[in-house]
């Protein structure tokens, strides 16, 4: 009985320090992200594109996937808008280069997340997690963070697994 109490005290101590460390790193290391092209999600969504139109592996793989230059070129082969940013796409295509999209959401290495599971089998809407990205006209300049709390809250609500190894790899 008593041993258990000590264990809990120990646990609290650890948790506290852990939280502190986490916070410290989180605050000091968040860096600005600049995308190679100032991509306008809103325009694309308004134009009638589905999220999976560009994030092509979202339904059947773990990662949603980023559009390859060739995919962008299917629409942007010729000018669609007057936006000078659009020319950048064609420049990449001409150089046979992939557009170096920068990652804005980076899960820690010990987390396993699968889009397929959430989108395909559980039929979650993209906005359940990615809220307003479809409404943004500028790419986010800071990394987007997800907290385990938000994952857990939803998992508990939806009666999904809260087993550690189901998400921690």
């Amino acid at each position: 009985m008593q041993a258990n109490k000590f264990r809990i005290i120990g646990l609290v101590l650890v948790a506290g320090l852990l939280a502190f460390t986490w916070l410290r790193i989180g605050l000091s290391k968040s860096t600005e992200i600049r995308q190679p092209i100032r991509f306008n999600h809103k325009k694309h969504v308004q134009g009638g594109l589905e999220c999976s139109g560009c994030h092509q592996t979202v339904k059947d793989q773990a990662t949603a996937g980023r559009p390859e230059t060739s995919l962008c070129m299917t629409c942007h082969e010729a000018s669609v808008t007057k936006n000078p940013e659009e020319n950048l796409i064609r420049e990449y295509a001409q150089r046979h280069e992939e557009i170096p999209w920068q990652r804005v959401i980076k899960l820690p290495d010990h987390v396993f997340f699968s889009h397929r599971r959430h989108v395909s089998t559980e039929k979650l809407d993209c906005t359940s997690c990615h809220e307003a990205i479809g409404q943004s006209s500028e790419p986010p300049s800071r990394p987007i963070k997800f907290s385990m709390d938000s994952c857990l809250a939803c998992h508990q609500k939806m009666k999904a697994s809260v087993d550690c190894v189901a998400c921690h790899k």
Partner: protein, 820 residues
């Protein structure tokens, strides 16, 4: 009690806290996000493993353009979805940091390590220019191609290159088990044979490391598992005869330790029991063998038969002393062998790497004839050929024809079966017999590491004006090359992979790139064609293909058109193909070649299952059309005649043979010379106080043994003695105790030629008069993981060779050991 727990807990916790903070920093590094980017696009691409000659099918898991994992291809008939340790470690070959980034030229003298990168155009120009110049002065014959891969279209391409360029010096050094001379002498076969292990009831292995270093370890292990627990009916027995308790011996039902080099004598003593006690297959022997009983030739001369020789000379009582195997064991094994047919006797380097290798191999193989196992279920299959479409005939100009008619480099006329052996060419290259080599190409060959005479060969290399290596790694031989034209690794290139003979089926795996080449490397086939084009003239015309891939596609058309076999399929379908083939039928499966080719790449290859046994005409290509105890082919060669049947590898010129030295059994007219018999193996000069023979073995994890040893394999190298990353010497525990050598002591192993320092490991699987040292470590090539790790035991072994096959025989080196 509780208090102590508490302190422990707190102590543990605080220590943990310190760690956690730095650990967290580790897991959340802030790097360039792109380098961490994984689009997650995942796919599986089938290909074929080229880590050893086994030719297993693989499938590579690709995530976002990177190869993440290799697994076995479940449809592949050799490995059925399984893969061995070396195959699994293939990723560490592809991504090895020591891979060469592009063509290089040595600016200093050979071995100086002064390398400079050059472009492929320059490299091809340099090599091709030199070759063209040689042709202009009729010196084309002095080009040598050293092919360490030795099968499939790459070898065919090398042979074509030599042929149209005008050189007789194409040497195939593909790994073998030392049994080839026996298959030739007794069966007249130039190609290796397959074993029907699945149906055998008794497997008597003479130094054949079936589970470790045999042609196809995965297949052998699958069959082992099958024979142990899956096959209906009685379990098969596996008996391993060799000086060391190898992996195979440890997994066998019985290990019979035998003096190094004495396996042949044991085989003959077993034959004695079979004959004496009338346990042999008399019907088979009378129908399908030649030279068993005494006989009279056309000229009226009496000849000794195998039976007389055996009954005269190989009584188990006499042989027990030679082999160290007790008489009752010999008799028991012989009886078991005869009474559990189908029984198979198989041989391997553990028995044949001695100066008496050919006769040992012949003695072992003779047992198969005695139990009627050759061409019968549970025995030996003759291997069929792949129905590749042959290359269009090449137009050879006068230079080529003249060059090809020259004698081969190092064709030492005293070795009658040299075309079945793999002679050590150090001597010939150094002494420039019969002429100097001017250009040497090395393809998956690292002779400076594997030779018994590294000093000689290094000197010989220095004499050769241009040494070109195709190695993707800076191995010992590449270090002494002038130009390196690095090949892709097998995961980046196209290749046909004919699997080494196993169950009699012929299996053609397709290797295709699973990833774009990481570096500025080039397929050696492409490089060779470019060189050919650079030379110009009729050589250029001989390479009409755009690249190796188009050559591959063209050749595989033959497979499609042969209307045989099938693209890899599920096992039921494969059984269907086999059952139909047995009855003489074949069902077309693909409407066009394109359809066939695409399916071939998707499934991983093509195969034709074994469907019949008793094709005697094919099984015995000897003058008598039978299994020859009395080898007429060997006799013909000894007598200086050119045999008319079953000549050796293409392009081999067989000259009149001088009679063998008297030490090998007397003059050429002796019958014994062409019968399987026992010769004492030649030993090196013993240094004072030498009380041990040095036995060299290859650790299982170094199967095939590419130039780069993946660190994953280095750290599991000797599990039975808990050794990682280093060599060791196995000593009989009782002997070690006598010498006061403890586990892990550093000791010197010294022969007349030199010595090395290595850790001692008392190991009960060692004979008292033998010490075992692994081969494959002790590289001296740059790089973090292989360089100077462990020792190369070959360095202190003295070069002997088998006088019949010319094969290098490192077998019997006396050494002494003492504490360092």
């Amino acid at each position: 009690m509780q208090r102590r727990n508490f302190i422990k807990l707190v102590g543990g916790t605080t220590a943990g806290l310190a760690l956690t903070s730095c650990a967290t920093r580790q897991t959340l590094p802030v790097k360039d996000p792109l380098s961490e980017w994984r689009a997650g696009a995942e796919q599986w691409i089938p290909s074929t493993c080229l880590q050893c000659p086994g030719g297993c099918g693989i499938q590579a898991r690709i995530v976002d353009g990177n190869v993440i994992k290799l697994e076995g291809n479940p449809l592949h008939p050799i490995n059925n979805g399984r893969l061995c340790q070396v195959g699994q470690a293939g990723l560490q070959v592809l991504y090895h940091p020591d891979r060469l980034r592009g063509p290089m030229i040595q600016t200093g003298k050979k071995g100086s390590g002064q390398w400079q990168r050059l472009s492929w155009t320059e490299a091809i120009k340099t090599v091709g220019g030199r070759l063209r110049e040689m042709r202009s002065r009729n010196a084309s014959h002095s080009m040598m191609l050293w092919d360490g891969y030795g099968s499939g279209l790459m070898s065919a391409l090398f042979q074509r290159f030599a042929e149209v360029y005008g050189s007789p010096n194409y040497c195939s050094y593909a790994s073998g088990d030392g049994m080839a001379p026996a298959y030739y002498a007794e069966q007249g076969l130039a190609n290796p044979v397959g074993y029907d292990l699945e149906n055998a009831n008794y497997i008597l292995s003479f130094g054949c490391d079936l589970l470790g270093q045999w042609r196809s370890p995965v297949w052998a292990q699958r069959v082992y598992g099958y024979l142990r627990q899956e096959r209906p009916g009685p379990k098969a027995k596996l008996v391993q005869v060799e000086p060391r308790l190898s992996l195979t011996a440890s997994r066998a039902d019985e290990w019979i330790p035998v003096h190094p080099g004495a396996q042949g004598a044991l085989a003959l003593a077993i034959a004695y029991v079979l004959i004496r006690e009338d346990l042999y297959a008399a019907d088979y022997v009378s129908q399908h063998t030649f030279g068993f009983d005494d006989w009279t030739d056309a000229a009226g001369r009496r000849h000794m038969g195998f039976k007389s020789l055996i009954l005269k000379e190989y009584r188990p009582d006499d042989v027990a002393g030679i082999t160290g195997v007790p008489v009752d064991t010999i008799i028991r094994i012989a009886k078991e062998f005869a009474q559990h047919r189908p029984a198979l006797a198989i041989g391997g380097p553990g028995a044949t790497m001695f100066s008496n290798g050919t006769y040992t191999a012949m003695a072992i193989h003779a047992l198969n004839a005695l139990v009627g196992g050759i061409g019968a279920p549970g025995g030996y299959f003759s291997q069929r050929e792949f129905p590749f479409k042959p290359f269009s005939p090449a137009n050879r100009d006068a230079i080529a024809q003249k060059g090809c008619s020259m004698p081969r480099l190092g064709d030492d006329e005293s070795h009658p079966l040299i075309s079945q052996g793999r002679p050590d060419l150090s001597e010939a290259l150094l002494t420039e017999t019969p002429y100097p080599a001017e250009v040497l190409f090395l393809y998956y060959a690292n002779p400076l590491f594997s030779t018994l005479q590294p000093e000689k060969l290094t000197k010989a290399f220095e004499k050769i004006p241009l040494v070109v290596s195709f190695s993707p790694f800076m191995d010992e031989s590449a270090q002494h090359a002038d130009i390196i034209l690095p090949d892709h690794t097998y995961l980046e290139r196209w290749q046909d992979v004919p699997a080494a003979p196993t169950s009699g089926a012929i299996v053609l795996g397709m290797a295709q790139p699973v990833i774009k080449p990481l570096y500025d490397t080039l397929h050696t086939g492409d490089a060779l064609m470019l060189i050919g084009r650079e030379i110009g003239g009729s050589v250029k015309e001989a390479f009409p293909w755009q690249d190796f891939k188009s050559l591959l596609v063209e050749s595989v058309q033959g497979v499609f058109e042969a209307k045989r076999g099938s693209v890899f399929t599920e096992s039921f379908e494969a059984e269907n193909v086999r059952q139909l083939a047995k009855r003489g039928w074949w069902i077309p499966t693909h409407s066009s070649f394109d359809d066939f080719w695409n399916d071939l790449l998707k499934k991983g290859g093509w195969w034709e299952p074994q469907d019949s046994f008793d094709e005697w005409g094919k099984t015995f290509q000897t003058p008598s059309g039978k299994f020859e105890f009395y080898s007429q082919l060997l006799a013909a060669k000894l007598a200086g005649l050119t045999p008319t049947v079953g000549a050796g590898a293409p392009g081999r010129r067989i000259d009149a043979m001088k009679p063998l030295p008297a030490e090998m059994g007397g003059g050429a007219d002796s019958d014994k010379m062409v019968l399987p018999h026992y010769e004492a193996p030649k030993s090196s000069v013993a240094k004072d106080g030498s009380t041990f023979y040095l036995n060299v073995f290859r650790p299982e994890v170094l199967v095939g043994g590419g130039a780069a040893i993946p660190p994953w394999l280095q750290e599991i190298i000797g599990p039975h003695v808990f050794m990682k990353w280093d060599s060791w010497v196995e000593i009989n525990p009782a002997t070690a105790q006598k010498l006061e050598i403890n586990d892990g002591d550093w000791i010197w192993v010294e022969s007349s030629k030199g010595r090395f320092r290595v850790r001692a490991k008392p190991y009960p699987g060692t004979m008292p008069n033998v010490i075992n040292v692994p081969y494959g470590l002790g590289h001296t090539m740059p790089g973090e993981w292989a360089n100077q790790r462990g020792v190369n035991p070959l360095l202190i072994m003295e070069g002997k060779s088998d006088p019949i096959s010319g094969m290098a025989a490192p077998g019997l080196t006396p050494v002494r050991i003492y504490k360092a």
